[in-house]
């Protein structure tokens, strides 16, 4: 794949909708299923992923000519681990309260498929600025996915939104369990696919 021809805004928007990491690329399903019991979780983890993705993408894009092709995956892992450690330290130092909630998950970001895949697919072939925008798109796409699933599960599972009791009762307790994460992701994926089908059909009929 040669360098991308997309504009910056297109890169960001694609990351959120057309190439949404969770619903379209089906990457990083573990956090999407396991950690989305509330909006807050999704938001915090999404923010952490956003930063790691942007920094790692830029680093790899900057040193892409230096990386030996045979050891590119270890180098990617090293880069991601470095940024995850940095963000872990920064969170622990400056927002200790939020860190208590997500501290355990932040370390897991090293193993998130989305970041390695984006480095392999995009950052190692594109310029720093394009990688920056792609990282932002992917990060926000991931956050969007996590928050949407978190919204559905928190509302249906515990009757709350952002920790506030909005319904006053628990409609479907099943939704707080990990298995319900799969249902949510599946239904959202289907919706995304449906929207795409309808969109393409309209485009065809217009032309």
């Amino acid at each position: 794949m040669a360098a991308t021809k997309k504009t910056n805004s297109q890169l960001v928007l694609d990351g959120i909708f057309l190439e949404n990491p969770i619903f379209r690329l089906a990457l990083s399903m573990c956090p999407a299923v396991g950690l989305t019991t509330s909006i807050k979780n999704g938001l915090l983890l999404g923010t952490a992923v956003l930063f790691v993705q942007v920094f790692s993408s830029c680093t790899i894009a900057a040193i892409k000519n230096f990386i030996h092709p045979r050891i590119r995956i270890p180098t990617y892992t090293l880069t991601i681990a470095t940024w995850v450690t940095v963000i872990d330290l920064v969170l622990a130092a400056y927002v200790p309260d939020a860190y208590k909630q997500v501290g355990l998950f932040v370390k897991l970001i090293v193993a998130f498929a989305i970041i390695t895949m984006r480095l392999e697919m995009f950052a190692c072939k594109n310029s720093v600025s394009a990688s920056w925008w792609d990282g932002i798109g992917m990060g926000f796409g991931f956050m969007f996915g996590m928050v949407t699933i978190g919204f559905v599960r928190e509302l249906l599972g515990s009757g709350m939104l952002l920790g506030y009791d909005v319904l006053g009762f628990k409609p479907l307790l099943f939704f707080v369990l990990p298995a319900a994460g799969f249902f949510c992701v599946g239904i959202m994926m289907a919706m995304f696919n449906y929207v795409e089908v309808v969109y393409n059909r309209r485009k065809e009929s217009k032309s």
Partner: protein, 300 residues
């Protein structure tokens, strides 16, 4: 072969760069992190004494730290206590060197203020000066004595003991008669949902109000926690007085109810707390005797 060298070189360089970035981040965040921990310990100590934002601590409340060292000298082991003292209104420290039988061997005044003593490095230098040697000084632990005016209010013991997986860090609060005032779990790595429940109110508050005598024979029982006792433990200060008293009367002398599925964690905490209190009670009694005997103007 050429490629091998190239790969090794590039990988090494990447690792060094990564180390540089992480090291820089560590240097920049370390101070803030230490500060957070310090504030956290401070608020926890105050909350263990029953003070919070709603019920702020009175001005007379003072926290003094007592540091314990082990000193090896010519093959003999001594205990060194850095005791906060007051001399004509000025607060400083004095080093008491005790032999293992609890007999005072040496008294050395130390020129270090309580604030400076809280810093590890400054305290180590002061110890070095006081003993005129660098060898065989080993820091052991710290005890915080809370005083309200001239009265000894409570002891606060930061400590750690083995849990199911790794160490469990706690702060224990004791009355002057060694009855437990409260227990706070600061850091642990027990399994979420199982052993991690040790940090829940309904477990750690079971230790409250256990007397020293009762603690010596304290055990863990595998029985379901009664609902009313659980309700009390979850919010001991919110329940109305009569009801709470009745529950304390009924369950106060009971053993510790184990957490479901985490008997090992429950037992570790119970044994750990027991050992901490027993050892501390012995040590502080020895030290109190010395202080009373020598008429040391100690602030503990």
């Amino acid at each position: 072969m050429n490629e091998f060298v190239k790969i090794t070189f590039r990988l090494t360089l990447s690792c060094l760069m990564a180390a540089l970035v992480m090291g820089t981040a560590f240097i920049f965040t370390d101070k803030a992190k230490k500060h957070n921990e310090h504030v956290n310990v401070q608020t926890t100590m105050l909350s263990l004494l029953g003070y919070s934002d709603l019920n702020p601590a009175p001005k007379e409340l003072k926290l003094y730290s007592l540091y314990r060292y082990i000193i090896e000298e010519k093959g003999t082991t001594y205990l060194g206590y850095m005791v906060p003292v007051t001399e004509s209104g000025k607060e400083s420290y004095e080093l008491l060197k005790l032999n293992l039988e609890g007999k005072l061997m040496q008294r050395v005044p130390m020129n270090i203020s309580p604030d400076a003593a809280a810093e590890d490095a400054e305290r180590a230098t002061a110890m070095k000066e006081a003993l005129k040697t660098e060898q065989g000084i080993a820091y052991q632990d710290r005890t915080v004595v809370a005083r309200l005016g001239d009265q000894r209010l409570a002891y606060l013991l930061p400590g750690k003991f083995g849990g199911f997986k790794t160490f469990i860090n706690v702060i224990l609060s004791l009355n002057p008669d060694f009855a437990i005032r409260g227990l706070e779990i600061m850091e642990h790595e027990e399994d979420p949902g199982l052993g991690a429940e040790i940090s829940q109110n309904y477990f750690k508050n079971q230790f409250r109000n256990k007397s020293f005598e009762r603690l010596k024979s304290l055990d863990v029982i595998k029985e379901p926690l009664p609902d009313e006792y659980r309700a009390y433990l979850n919010a001991p200060d919110k329940m109305d007085k009569d009801k709470a008293d009745a529950i304390i009367k009924q369950y106060g002398e009971k053993d510790i109810y184990a957490l479901t599925g985490s008997t090992i964690s429950s037992r570790s905490v119970t044994d750990g707390v027991k050992n901490m209190v027993k050892r501390f009670a012995y040590r502080i009694q020895v030290l109190n005797d010395v202080i009373a005997d020598q008429k040391i103007p100690a602030l503990i």
